[in-house]
Symmetry: C2
Subunit: 366 residues, 2 copies
């Protein structure tokens, strides 16, 4: 199965895997897909640098990419402005009270956690700086077109730029901005998503910009049938994410975790789209934590990046609590089919094998 995407990225199969785990990303690249390492978890650019060194040693020279979180408009990060001070006390009280009610232990006097700084523009920029010192093939931006100077620097370095889009007009804007690959991310996807489902969004974006750039389908793709359907819709490949969260390689990054246990037992209806993770609508696993924010009387989530700062310590407490019923985790509706731990190689073989069997089944209908 080869598409224009394979040529442009120098990969064997049109499957791109977004993942915060370098172990998953490297394994996907070794399998002939494109592993894309999510950078938002790296508060410290030097840590990202070491991990990319590791990627360079563990991808057998195959292409890989990185994913940053960067709005096109550079926000003003005012010198001396403490973002913490912009968070209302009502919100802090709600988070603190909710964690107590959910039985999530405190951090044992270790003090507040730093939160995930990757949502800050300056930190995302440091990720780009580091990535461009490595042989990355792709820089993807979860928030759409990156700023024009970032696109220019990537192109100067021979690196392609991908941007997520939830509407056809966003895709058009990305291409006008010089983006090389558009990821059409449907409503059913994990993480930031729009309203329009993959089935409708992919043909719409392919019609809008598919003549100019490859379009990847994202959202609802975790099996070979769904990969085949994505190609039928006009995508030149799949952008996958959730499916890798329950792989054995993912465990190498996080250890055996409550999050993985929660994902393995969840059904396709056990997700919710909410602004509580980052301030923008993102699909998350439905847990007692997301339920609490949906209760009458819960505060409205704050805008990005304040919401992420607000819940930074909460996320750390939740993670350490090891309670699957309260985890805070972006995941798509395909979580319903993620019912056992598989290796990346096994997931990859299942994807490609089932896609091939699907094509054969379709042949039989004609």
């Amino acid at each position: 199965m080869r598409t224009r995407l394979c040529e442009e990225l120098g990969i064997e199969h049109p499957v791109v895997a977004f993942t915060p785990s370098e172990h998953v990303a490297a394994a996907v690249s070794r399998q002939g897909g494109l592993g894309v390492l999510g950078c938002v978890r790296f508060n410290d650019a030097d840590e990202l640098d070491s991990v990319l060194d590791w990627m360079d040693r563990n991808t057998d020279g195959k292409p890989y990419g990185v994913d940053v979180v960067m709005p096109a408009k550079v926000p003003q990060e005012v010198e001396g402005l403490d973002l913490d001070e912009l968070i209302p006390a009502e919100h802090r009280d709600f988070v603190s009270r909710t964690l107590d009610e959910l039985g999530v232990p405190g951090l044992d006097g270790e003090g507040g956690a730093a939160g995930v700084l990757g949502w800050l523009h300056s930190v995302a920029r440091s990720h780009v700086d580091v990535a461009l010192r490595h042989p990355v093939r792709l820089i993807a931006n979860a928030l759409g077109s990156p700023p024009s100077d970032v696109i220019e620097r990537a192109h100067d370095a021979g690196v392609q730029v991908a941007a997520l889009a939830g509407k056809a007009e966003h895709a058009r804007r990305h291409v006008a901005n010089g983006v090389d690959i558009v990821v059409a991310q449907g409503h059913e996807a994990g993480g930031h998503t729009g309203e329009v489902a993959t089935m409708v969004l992919v043909p719409e974006i392919a019609a809008e910009v598919g003549a100019e750039v490859p379009v990847l389908a994202a959202g609802g793709i975790g099996s070979g049938r769904q990969l085949a359907a994505a190609l039928a819709l006009g995508a030149e490949g799949a952008w996958t994410g959730s499916i890798w969260l329950t792989t054995s390689e993912y465990q190498k990054t996080t250890g055996e975790s409550a999050t993985q246990r929660a994902l393995l037992s969840a059904g396709s209806s056990d997700t919710v789209r909410s602004r509580i993770y980052t301030g923008k609508p993102a699909r998350l696993l439905k847990t007692r934590w997301t339920d609490a924010w949906a209760q009458p009387g819960a505060p409205e989530p704050l805008p990005m990046p304040l919401q992420n700062i607000l819940v930074g310590e909460a996320h750390e407490r939740i993670m350490r609590s090891a309670d699957p019923s309260v985890v805070s985790m972006p995941v798509g509706q395909i979580v319903g089919t993620m019912n056992r731990v598989r290796s990346v190689a096994e997931v990859f073989d299942d994807l490609l094998g089932e896609a091939e069997r699907t094509f054969q089944r379709l042949d039989g209908l004609r």
Copy 2:
């Protein structure tokens, strides 16, 4: 393109068209698909009878079906209970005030409209009685399994029964109840919909019950790519609805209408899922009417069937107002591609032609 569905229903192409227009339904059946006439608009069973007489004369002996709206549990319709009295004054005031604010004229002293009685169980039953006197091939139920005696009577008459499902467990229950065809209706569909998108729902339901009964994909299917994708996902055909609302045959039922003008100009983001149409979540065209119900301070919609009674007269006033900006109309996200009036034959040819070209394109990738 032939599937088990074609054998079971005696049709040439695996495309089922749900429509309130007998002109569309008959034309689809004549094209080799299955036209399914929505019965909910018939308050008077005799009127349905005449329309089915017309269908019998205008389908060239090809199969057709009907769609009723019937919960599996027979609700108690208490003798002498006036449902009108269960509607809070606050809700009536809101509707009346909102229509005034939207500039929707009154009914010129013609008195209150009857509303759409098809949502009442007794009326839906009269639809089944009438349908079974005609050579219908399929009775579909928009609310899941019909009551067991209805399934039995249909089977005794050699009529198949289809039921819509928004979750795999619903599909399992339908098959246990004796339903012959399951329609997996994704989030992006018009009318009543669940949370799970077609891309995820169809493989899930096909895995659950596909070995026993044909599964149709519904939601997001209005082009040949989407039809091909539905088959890739494991469906044995498509259940379509929205796409027929802007056909020239539909105009024969409704006349050239503000609703059609509104649909033709809407984009894929211009829908909203709301309980305001029937009391259950249904996807509607986003207009000033749906916006009004989403405002802070608007009342919560009432449960079925009260909400429908509440808005019955409003719908009639809105329809007569001929203002596209206030229409109240169920439609799916594919409304974004419904940009010109085509004949049923043209839509059908486009669907099948693009599906075939899609299969050829997929062949080229292997």
